[in-house]
Amino acid sequence: MDMAIIEMLRGALGKVSGFIYPNELELQWSVLIVLYPYITGLVAGAFVLASLERVFDVKAIKPIYRLSLLVALAFLLVAPLPLNVHLGHPERGIEIFMTPHTSSAMAMFGFVYLWYLMVVLLMEVWLDYRKEIVEWSLSEKFWPKRLFYKVLTLGVTNISPRSLEIDDKLGRILTVVGLPSALLLHGYVGFIFGSIKANPWWSTPLMPVIFIFSAMASGIAGVMLVYMLACWARNVKIDMPCLDTIGKFLLTAIIVAFSLEMLESLQTVYEAEEHFDIISLLVEGKLFVSMILIQIIMGSITPIFLLGTVQLVELPEKARKIFYALAGTLALIGILAMRWNVVIGGQFFSKSFLGFTTYKMELAGREGLLSAIGLGILPLFILAALLYLLPPWEKTKESI
């Protein structure tokens, strides 16, 4: 260590307040780890929405069944990327599949991820689209696309009513199996935080449950906005009964997620254990804007108010659309803020409970803002490609 490092450490002292341990100066989990549960949550939420139609027979949301599956798939493909970018050695990612250790939550859930991607989501999309894939493989004029569909048919062009019936039945079974898989996949993200004993901001068995419900809210809001945008872009009328139903489910998901979060906070306040002082300082200080203002007031209470108003007051179609769009956007921002408050907030305070550090996000680095934005919008490009290859609209038109 030379004088330069000593000088650097002296400069770093200005970044912290109170007493912190030396290894707490720099936050280890960056904005990419904020993005990871956010994207995984969107997958789980979108899949739950799809399953409402398939398993629970909510007919009104049929127009967005396929769209939600494609949204889930697009985001699922990107979900592990923030982790790989954060770790900096993407080529080592495969090792958790090669030599998994049962004591590693990450390794075990790598298999849940694989199962969910390969067996549940891809299979379900394939089974649902098989009839069209066969038709497109015969009728498509653009040869690369035709070849793509041909490959997807696996060489079987039989779309007899009996075979389609089998597909439908199998798809239903897969959704029933997929639902717990989706919840498990997202629950594990909460589990990883919830099981960190040393950090009282994270260590609660409620963490996976809170993550699951906020995941549902974000996924439902995400699909709703994509649906509204897609209708607008295609110049098609929005199916209002469908949108109203999504709005109801979104309201339910936000209410449950918000209540659970508040219950957890109340419990912390009421128990007032030895870490309470530092946590109240955290919430009143460093997290005031991102938690009280953005997550709670803007991202939870306002959407509940907006969506609740739609339920209680009879509003014209146009106003409802504006309310839904606004509530969906705010909920998405609020849930991103919730992930931020959990991941970054949990690293702000020292394990000594006596001091804070700060987080200064890079702009262009590997774990910087631009990298996070890039990974955040990558699923939308994948979704656009999926919508081009597997347009979910055909069936929609029939059902309207």
Partner: protein
């Protein structure tokens, strides 16, 4: 059966993928992995075969009895000789070898001692520490403090 044909193909694809995975795994996972625990057993021998660099404190006192005795009475008694003088197995085996003991030069001495003695708030109050910027800024530490008998 004809109506199940596409599903049979899916099962075949999954089976091929599984076999492929197991094959790739057999190529990628080192042979000795898992023999002793959740790691590559051969790495133990490989690490043991790496060249040694440190001689350990007992090697020094054979020749440097005075310094060892001085240090043993001082507050630096818990610090190994090689912590300050560098890894010296070569020197211990052959004092004429190129492996010479390191002695901090005057210019770098303040930074060197500062590793441990620069004042920071996280150190216990009783621990000897100075503000390098204020404490005789131009003087090398050993002008007043002898490292083997620091006071």
């Amino acid at each position: 059966m004809k109506d199940f044909q596409h599903l049979i193909r899916v099962v075949i694809i999954f089976a091929v993928a599984l076999v492929g995975f197991l094959f790739v795994r057999s190529l990628l996972v080192p042979k000795s992995f898992g023999k002793l625990g959740h790691y590559r057993a051969d790495s133990v021998d490989e690490i043991a075969a790496l060249p040694l660099h440190y001689a350990g404190p007992d090697a020094c006192k054979k020749c440097h009895a005075q310094q060892t005795a001085d240090k043993a009475k001082s507050s630096h008694r818990g610090i190994s000789c090689e912590s300050c003088h560098g890894a010296l197995l070569g020197h211990a085996e052959n004092p004429k070898s190129d492996n010479k003991p390191r002695r901090p030069k005057e210019a770098e001495m303040r930074a060197f001692c500062g590793h441990c003695h620069e004042r920071t708030i996280s150190k216990p109050a009783k621990y000897p520490q100075v503000d390098l910027k204020e404490h005789n800024p131009d003087a090398p530490c050993n002008m007043c403090h002898q490292p083997h008998q620091p006071k």
